[in-house]
């Protein structure tokens, strides 16, 4: 009976000592747990420092890499993730994060050429396929037909992605040279072509008005005024041609920017593409 009591006492003391050692706030495990707490709070710099004290643990190494990415230090994050590719239970997650980082940095070679999806679970490989397609959409050079492009996306997203695909593959841009020629033939026509209606009508009226005034003054033998208004008409005419060329360029930049913004909004709205550990 006495022996059992002594044994129970020893067990109790060992248990308590274990709790005590784990609760040492500066032990590796405690720092790791504290790091996770900071990570969840979004305090990535401090989380990263805490994880650094426990790098023998793969999860700690993995979360430190994610913390680095969240701070924009993607190259360092990738170094840590590469260290987890072999002989780690987190190998798949680490490889997946490498793809996500490649997407964030626009590393198209990694996304398109360095494909090793064969040993990925479907959840990851499907997301990587989608990331790769979004990367194509953002860059604009799409080598797929529509059906092939839409294939990895779920039904609820297909209509939206399809619209963006068409806008990228067959962009409705304006030709600056055509706009300039149109304005050379009929002042303002190039601006109408680039849907800048107000400026188009103004250019037509200004060139017309100054040309009329020039002719009228020459007819009335007001040489100086005739020359003055001819100069003004020429100035507005040349400005209208140059303006139409620029207007087409501006139209195209706005068109492409709007599409890029729509793509980025879509990427943000479909949560599985947003940066961060899940």
């Amino acid at each position: 009976m006495k022996n059992i009591s002594i044994f129970s006492l020893i067990l109790f003391i060992v248990g308590l000592s274990s709790i005590y050692s784990q609760s040492d706030p500066y032990s590796g495990v405690a720092r790791f747990n504290f790091g996770k707490y900071l990570f969840q709070q979004g305090d990535f710099l401090r989380a990263y420092y805490e994880f650094n004290y426990y790098l023998e643990n793969d999860t700690s190494k993995y979360l430190s890499a994610i913390s680095l990415r969240e701070m924009g230090r993607i190259s360092e994050a990738n170094d840590r993730l590469r260290g987890l590719i072999f002989n780690s239970p987190l190998s798949e997650k680490a490889r997946y994060q490498l793809y996500r980082n490649a997407f964030l940095t626009g590393d198209e070679f990694f996304l398109r050429e360095n494909r090793s999806l064969l040993y990925f679970p479907l959840e990851y490989s499907s997301n990587i396929e989608k990331l790769t397609r979004f990367d194509y959409l953002l860059k604009g050079d799409i080598p797929f037909d529509e059906a092939e492009f839409l294939q990895p996306f779920e039904d609820s997203l297909r209509d939206t992605v399809s619209l963006l695909f068409k806008a990228r593959k067959y962009p409705q841009v304006k030709n600056p040279v055509k706009a300039a020629w149109l304005s050379a033939i009929i002042p303002g026509a190039g601006k109408i072509y680039t849907r800048d209606y107000g400026d188009g009508i103004t250019a037509f009226l200004m060139v017309g008005l100054f040309t009329y005034l020039a002719i009228d003054n020459f007819d009335a033998n007001h040489e100086f005024r005739g020359v003055l208004f001819t100069g003004l008409a020429g100035y507005f005419y040349a400005g209208n041609i140059y303006g139409s060329y620029s207007s087409a360029q501006i139209f195209n930049v706005k068109y492409r920017t709007n599409i890029s913004e729509s793509i980025k909004k879509l990427i943000e709205s479909v949560d599985y593409f947003s940066p961060g550990e899940k």
Binding site: L9, Y20, P25, N33, F34
Partner: protein, 272 residues
């Protein structure tokens, strides 16, 4: 008995651990090592299962962030400290620090709303003067010197900041007045804000092109009248009143910045 002693030793050492973190964090804070101080206070919050240090840790994290200029984070943690404060003695410092952070990050309307709500709800009644004091500071940072003067005068009619705020208010230019007199007499708004050369130029150009315009109409050169009137006279007339407004705004901005700099460098009382 032995087990009880062992348990007592164990739990007292666990409590001592949080105490040690608190001591370390305070030491870092006192040495102005705010980054590490925040880490240690956060560690304290994480290990402090009984929430013994909730108020102190959150409050000091808030102050550390404030010292580093991270006012959003500071307000977040000060609000937590305020929530964890059990007595008015602890609530009030957290409340005031939230106000000071709002003043420093120029969300002065937030500060004023919080202060007015405190007065309306009868909170911190024994510290009413301090509340008016921070109201005055919020109004000064909001560039409303007359209102600031009124807030300080509630503490004391001859309060030094009341006098200062009144002086700044009197120095400032009335932007609407500057614009209005320039509508009536071109250049006068610029004279009002001390930009004499610009005032003379404005007056000269508007008079010249006004004369040419009138002369063209008087000589029945209607087209010339319209062209000169529109392209020259009106252009200078519009420039004149726009400039009057711009100069008054620029001067007021300089007065505002100078006043705040003066307070920063020369005022010896409590500052945000």
């Amino acid at each position: 008995m032995k087990i009880l002693t062992l348990l007592l030793i164990l739990f007292s050492s666990l409590a001592a651990q949080t105490g040690e973190i608190f001591y370390k964090a305070d030491s870092l804070y006192n040495n102005e090592n705010f980054f590490d101080a925040v880490t240690e206070y956060k560690r304290l919050l994480f290990f402090d299962a009984n929430e013994k240090y909730s108020y102190e840790a959150n409050f000091k994290i808030g102050l550390s962030y404030k010292a580093g200029g991270y006012f959003d984070n500071a307000i977040e943690f000060l609000a937590k400290a305020l929530k964890n404060a059990k007595t008015e003695e602890k609530r009030y410092p957290a409340f005031v620090e939230i106000i000071r952070c709002n003043i420093l990050r120029k969300t002065t309307d937030n500060a004023l709303t919080l202060l007015k709500n405190a007065i309306e709800n009868g909170e911190y009644l024994s510290r009413k003067n301090e509340i008016y004091y921070w109201m005055g500071w919020a109004e000064m940072f909001a560039d409303r010197w007359n209102e600031a003067s009124a807030a300080f005068s509630r503490i004391e009619v001859e309060h030094p900041l009341k006098k200062f705020a009144s002086q700044v208010h009197n120095k400032k230019y009335d932007v609407t007045f500057a614009k209005l007199i320039s509508y009536i007499l071109p250049g006068s708004g610029q004279f009002y804000s001390g930009e004499y050369l610009s005032g003379v130029m404005s007056l000269g150009w508007t008079v010249l092109w006004g004369y040419v315009t009138v002369d063209a109409f008087a000589s029945e050169r209607v087209f010339d009248g319209f062209m000169v009137g529109n392209l020259l006279w009106f252009r200078f007339y519009r420039g004149n009143y726009e400039n009057a407004e711009k100069f008054a705004l620029e001067k007021n901005n300089k007065i505002y910045i100078d006043a705040l700099l003066y307070l920063q460098n020369n005022f010896e009382g409590i500052k945000p």
